[in-house]
C-alpha cells in the first residue's frame, strides 16, 4: 500500500468514526422523545430479544454442557471435581454468557436491524417520514437501539441460567458430582462483583451491537448490494468490538 493510499484509508477510518460518533450523539438525544413511545420500544424488545430466545437458550444449554464435560476432565486431574459449580458459574457469568450472547445477538438481531432499516432507507420510508415531519431518528432508530439495549442483558441472563443448568446436567446427572456440592460451591465462591461484571458487560455489548446495527442500517447505500454489505459490516464490527471490549472490561474488573 502506498503512502497516499494509507493516508486515505486512515482519513476514511477517522471520518467513519466521526460520523458514527455524531450519529450516537443524535441517537441519544432522540432516545428522550422515544421514551414517550413505550409501545414501540416493547415491540423492539420483542423483535430483538423474543425472537432470539430459542438460539440463545439452545446455545446456553450446549455451552453449559461443554463446561460440564471440560470442567470434569480438567478438574479431575487436580482432584478438584467439586469445584465444577464455581467454574461453571464464574465462566458463564463473567465471560461466556455476555460474550457468546453478544456474538449471537449480533448475528440474529443485529443483522435483522441493519437490513430492516437499510431497506426502509432504500424504499424511501425514512424520507417519507421526514417529509411528514416525523423524525426517523426518534421513531425508527431510537426505539430499536433501546430495544436492543434492554434485550441484551435479559438474553445474557437467560443464557447464564440455562448454561448453569446444562453444566449441572452433565456434571451431576451424568458424571456423578454431588448436586449439593455443585450448588453450594457456586454459592460460596460467586460474589456480587462477579454478577455486576456480567451485567456491565452485557449492557455495554448490547449498546455497542445495537448502535452498530442501527448506524449501519441508517447509512446503508440504498441498493440491494449496499444493504447486504451493511449487514456484513454489522456482524464483523460487532464481533470484533465485543471481543476487544471484553478484554478491556475484564482487565478493569480484575
Amino acid at each position: 500500500m502506498s503512502g497516499a493510499a494509507r493516508h486515505g484509508t486512515v482519513l476514511e477510518g477517522l471520518r467513519k468514526t466521526g460520523v458514527t460518533g455524531i450519529f450516537f450523539a443524535r441517537l441519544l438525544l432522540a432516545c428522550v422523545p422515544a421514551l414517550a413511545r413505550p409501545r414501540l420500544i416493547i415491540a423492539q424488545i420483542y423483535n430483538a430479544g423474543g425472537r432470539s430466545l430459542i438460539i440463545i437458550m439452545l446455545s446456553g444449554l450446549f455451552t453449559g454442557m461443554v463446561i460440564g464435560l471440560l470442567g470434569q476432565d480438567v478438574l479431575r486431574r487436580f482432584g478438584a471435581e467439586t469445584a465444577l459449580g464455581t467454574l461453571a458459574a464464574l465462566g458463564l457469568l463473567k465471560e461466556l454468557g455476555p460474550v457468546l450472547t453478544s456474538l449471537l445477538f449480533a448475528g440474529r438481531a443485529g443483522t435483522a436491524l441493519t437490513s430492516e432499516i437499510g431497506l426502509m432507507r432504500a424504499t424511501d420510508q425514512l424520507t417519507a417520514m421526514e417529509v411528514m415531519a416525523v423524525n426517523p431518528m426518534s421513531y425508527v432508530a431510537a426505539p430499536r437501539f433501546l430495544g436492543g439495549l434492554i434485550a441484551m442483558p435479559l438474553l445474557a441472563a437467560i443464557f447464564n441460567i440455562i448454561g448453569l443448568y446444562g453444566a449441572q446436567l452433565v456434571g451431576v446427572q451424568l458424571l456423578g458430582i454431588d448436586r449439593g456440592v455443585y450448588w453450594s460451591q457456586m454459592q460460596s465462591s460467586v460474589g456480587i462483583r462477579d454478577v455486576t461484571e456480567g451485567i456491565v458487560k452485557s449492557l455495554v455489548f448490547g449498546a455497542v451491537v445495537s448502535l452498530i446495527a442501527v448506524n449501519e442500517g441508517y447509512h446503508a447505500e440504498p441498493t440491494a448490494e449496499g444493504v447486504g454489505l451493511a449487514t456484513t459490516r454489522t456482524v464483523v464490527a460487532s464481533s470484533v468490538l465485543t471481543l476487544l471490549l471484553d478484554y478491556m472490561l475484564t482487565a478493569v474488573f480484575l
Binding site: T123, A128, E130, M132, A133
Partner: protein, 264 residues
C-alpha cells in the same frame, strides 16, 4: 406559495441546477416536466427542505426554507403532503395505520375521530375496503392511492407528486389523474406534479415548466408549450430521439468501436 429563485445546486461537482426559476401559484396545478436526470426529484427535495441550494432561494409559504430552524422546517412540512414514486408506505403497519400515521404523530385526536378521518380519505381514493391489508398485499397503483390518502390526511396546503404516473395501468393512471384534479378543485390544494408524462399532464396542469440542462427552457400553459417553436420543447413534446437533448450517453465513435475488436 412556492417560489424558486435563481437556484444553483450541484452534486459532487456535477451541476444539477444552474439558475432555476419556478413560481408556483396558490390553488393551481403546476407541472414540472423534463427528461430523466434533469433533477425533478431533487427539486422536490429542495422544496421540502431535505436539501439546500448552493445559492439562490427556495421560498415556501413566503420564507426561505434554508434559513429556517429544524423545528420551523418541520412546521412547514406539516403544511405539505408528498406522494412518492413508489408510495413509500411503512411496510410493518397496515393500510389504515399508514394513513393514520401522520395524524397520530401530530395530533391528540381520539381514536374514534382518527378512524372516521382515515376512512373518509381512504374512501376518497376508493380503498376503504383495503384498510386492513398490509402494503405488501397491494398492487403498485393501489399503493400509490394509499400513499395519496396518507398525503392528504392532514389537509395540506401544498401537495407534491413525484412521478405519479410511472408504471400504472391505464385504469389506475386515469384514477390518479382524476384524483389529482379533484384534490385541487374540491380542496383547493396547490399541486406540484413532477413527471415526464407530457400528455397526461397536459390534461390537468394549469401551468407547466420544462426543465433541461439545469434551468427552465420553457414555461406556460400546456397549450402554449405545445405551440412553442423551441427545438427542445418540440423534441420533448414529440418524444424524438433527435434534437438538442441527447438521447445517447457520450461514447466513442460507434463504427470504430465495433471494428476495433474487444477492447473498450
Amino acid at each position: 406559495m412556492v417560489d424558486v429563485r435563481d437556484v444553483h445546486y450541484a452534486i459532487d461537482g456535477r451541476p444539477i441546477f444552474a439558475g432555476l426559476n419556478i413560481r408556483v401559484r396558490r390553488g393551481l396545478i403546476t407541472a414540472v416536466m423534463g427528461p430523466s436526470g434533469t433533477g425533478k426529484t431533487t427539486l422536490l427535495r429542495l422544496i421540502t427542505g431535505q436539501l439546500f441550494a448552493d445559492s439562490g432561494q427556495v421560498l415556501v409559504f413566503g420564507r426561505d426554507i434554508a434559513s429556517l430552524s429544524t423545528s420551523h422546517v418541520y412546521a412547514a412540512r406539516r403544511r405539505m403532503g408528498m406522494l412518492f414514486q413508489n408510495g413509500a408506505l411503512l411496510t410493518d403497519i397496515d393500510v389504515f395505520d399508514n394513513v393514520a400515521f401522520p395524524v397520530r404523530e401530530h395530533t391528540d385526536l381520539p381514536e374514534s375521530v382518527i378512524r372516521k378521518l382515515v376512512l373518509t380519505k381512504l374512501e376518497a381514493v376508493g380503498l376503504r375496503g383495503a384498510a386492513h391489508l398490509m402494503p405488501a398485499e397491494l398492487s403498485g397503483g393501489m399503493a400509490r392511492r394509499v400513499a395519496l390518502a396518507r398525503a392528504i390526511v392532514m389537509d395540506p396546503e401544498v401537495l407534491l407528486y413525484d412521478e405519479p404516473f410511472v408504471g400504472l395501468d391505464p385504469i389506475s393512471l386515469g384514477v390518479i389523474l382524476r384524483l389529482i384534479k379533484q384534490m385541487n378543485e374540491a380542496l383547493g390544494i396547490t399541486s406540484i406534479v413532477v413527471s415526464h408524462d407530457v400528455h397526461e399532464l397536459a390534461t390537468i396542469a394549469d401551468q407547466s415548466y420544462l426543465l433541461s440542462g439545469g434551468s427552465v427552457v420553457a414555461a406556460g400553459t400546456p397549450q402554449e408549450l405545445a405551440r412553442s417553436d423551441s427545438e427542445t420543447v418540440h423534441q420533448f413534446m414529440t418524444g424524438s430521439a433527435e434534437g438538442p437533448v441527447r438521447f445517447h450517453y457520450p461514447a466513442p465513435d460507434y463504427a470504430s468501436q465495433l471494428l476495433g475488436g474487444d477492447e473498450g
